[in-house]
């Protein structure tokens, strides 16, 4: 069960791509051990929110506080050292590295990460193909590898961007099982997902994002009452 304490606080977050103002004062917090899902239509600003939190989008204003520390003044490479692991939408598997090299690429940032053996047990497909070139894996296997490499680092907050996009239902189900396992282990998860049916099995709370703003916040227990409105908002 989540502990009721804000681990990550986002206040009035604005972000720009060049001249284009994409985030308009988003605010929310994430508590330790909970799964928070950012939901919204394509282009609503969900991915940009993750990228602004991590510092990939540098042109931003507002407050991003992690365990009370201001992340906006920390260099990009130092943010991962605080225990935040990122699984990007495009998966980011490196073509010049094997599966095994991709897996051990991110350095261990904290104690408590999974060992390579544990990871290969969790993802047997990766074990079988550990000598293959990373990008030769199927889309589902690449997604598993992208998640797996963060599990090794000991990061206790994982930012997942559209992990089910373009994947077969059986793979989506497997990824759901893995995320349930991580949730049970107490990992804090920020999940950006358009597949609302996937997110509802995992999320403790939701933030609805539209046009770069957070327009609604609610907990899992309020979901049923919100369903009709959400279906209209999300176009599902």
């Amino acid at each position: 069960m989540p502990i009721d304490r804000a681990l990550l606080e986002i206040e009035d977050l604005n972000a720009w791509y060049g001249e284009s103002h994409v985030l308009h004062g988003i605010s929310f917090d994430v508590r330790e051990g909970e799964t928070l899902s950012l939901i919204g239509r394509n282009g609503a600003g969900k991915t940009t929110t993750l990228r602004a939190i991590l510092g990939i989008v540098r042109n931003r204003t507002g407050v991003i506080r992690f365990r009370g520390e201001d992340l906006t003044v920390i260099p990009l490479h130092a943010i991962a050292r605080r225990g935040l692991g990122y699984v990007p939408e495009e998966r980011g598997i490196f073509a010049s590295l094997t599966v095994a090299e991709n897996l051990v690429l991110p350095p261990v940032v904290k104690d408590g990460g999974m060992s390579e053996e544990e990871i290969y047990e969790l993802f047997p497909n990766l074990a079988e193909r550990r000598s293959s070139q990373g990008t030769k894996l199927s889309g589902g296997e690449q997604q598993m590898l992208a998640i797996a490499r963060i599990l090794r680092t000991g990061a206790n907050v994982i930012l997942l961007d559209e992990p089910t996009e373009g994947l077969a239902p059986v793979i989506v189900e497997r990824i759901g099982e893995v995320l349930q396992l991580l949730k049970a282990r107490g990992m804090t998860i920020i999940l950006v997902e358009q597949n609302f049916h996937f997110a509802r099995k995992l999320a403790d709370r939701y933030v609805v994002v539209e046009h770069g703003s957070a327009i609604d916040y609610f907990g899992a227990s309020e979901l049923d009452a919100k369903m009709a409105g959400l279906a209209e908002q999300l176009g599902v």
Binding site: L54, I56, P75, L76, H77, A78, I79, A80, R81, Y86, P88, G92, F94, A95, S96, L97, E101, V104, L105, P106, P107, V109, T153
Partner: protein
């Protein structure tokens, strides 16, 4: 006697001599193009200053000997470090601002840096060279039975092969190499993993420059230490890198040696073409494989 029909016949001893000469030139081509490939692969900067850094390595070893009495063996370590340090200053003060721009800007900047470095040395030392003898332990000839091998030249071939092999292993078989290869593909994502990519870029430039400095120390006893020694070499080295595949480590090494040997043989069998053979090969490679022999198409 070794003959190419309708061209020329040559005694085997002379042929071996030319092959050795080609191998020595190939050693310098490989070491220098390797440094260029490492730098281009990671920074996407065409480092025109590579020839000047090579010359700097030779001059530092000469200074160490003349001013401080530090012998060749000490220079082999100190000079690449000194050149690497100069490269850190260049990268930190100027070059890092070129990364987000078209590679042409990096080329122009490093061309300007070359002019400044070479012009300064020419002002103080003129165009003539300074002598730098090989260390006593590597002086003299060695009779191999089928040819006489100047020991120092044999040493250059061996040590440069080891340096190339070591660099290849570092990049292809170590964790640091995996960081470099990954950062070449997606530097932002590698930073989100907690790896300090800007520092890696500085160190990569310093490493590539140190390889040039190392080649400069090796070259000092063979060629004279002269402000223009890099200028004479850099255009050929660029042709080697392009033929091998821009940014390809293995391509730079293999093509460096092959083209060195080819140039050596051309000097014997058709000397008129020896100055252009490398460029002709480069043009043919580009026509048949635009990404180079070992390069990957974009």
């Amino acid at each position: 006697m070794f003959c190419i029909p309708y061209v020329k016949c040559l005694p085997f001893v002379a042929l071996y001599g030319q092959l050795l000469l080609g191998l020595i030139n190939g050693s310098f081509y490989a070491l220098l193009s390797l440094g260029l490939a490492v730098i281009f692969g990671m920074l996407r900067v065409i480092n025109f200053a590579h020839g000047a850094l090579y010359m700097l390595g030779a001059f530092v070893s000469w200074w160490l000997s003349v001013a401080l009495g530090i012998p060749y063996w000490g220079a082999l370590i100190v000079a690449p470090l000194a050149v690497g340090l100069v490269a850190v200053v260049i990268e930190k003060t100027m070059l890092h601002q070129m990364y987000r721009l078209d590679p042409l800007y990096g080329l122009l900047l490093t061309f300007g840096i070359t002019q400044v470095i070479e012009g300064t040395f020419r002002y103080f030392y003129g165009a003539s060279g300074q002598p730098y003898p090989p260390p006593p332990a590597l002086s003299g000839p060695l009779n191999l039975g089928f040819m006489i091998l100047p020991i120092y030249r044999g040493w250059v071939v061996v040590i440069s092969i080891l340096a190339c092999l070591g660099t290849w292993l570092l990049i292809e078989r170590t964790r640091i190499g995996a960081y470099l290869r990954a950062a070449t593909e997606n530097p932002v994502l590698v930073q989100t993993f907690g790896i300090n990519v800007p520092l890696m870029m500085t160190l990569t430039y310093a490493f590539g420059a140190a390889l040039a400095g190392f080649a400069g120390v090796l070259a000092a006893p063979i060629y004279q230490v002269s402000p223009l020694m890099g200028t004479n070499l850099i255009i050929i080295v660029f042709a080697v890198v392009v033929a091998g595949g821009m940014g390809s480590i293995l391509g730079a090494i293999v093509t460096g040696y092959i083209l060195g040997l080819l140039e050596g043989l051309t000097k014997v069998f058709y000397p008129e073409a020896s100055n252009i053979v490398i460029f002709v090969v480069m043009a043919i490679v580009l026509l048949l494989r635009p990404a180079g022999l070992f390069g990957r198409a974009a």
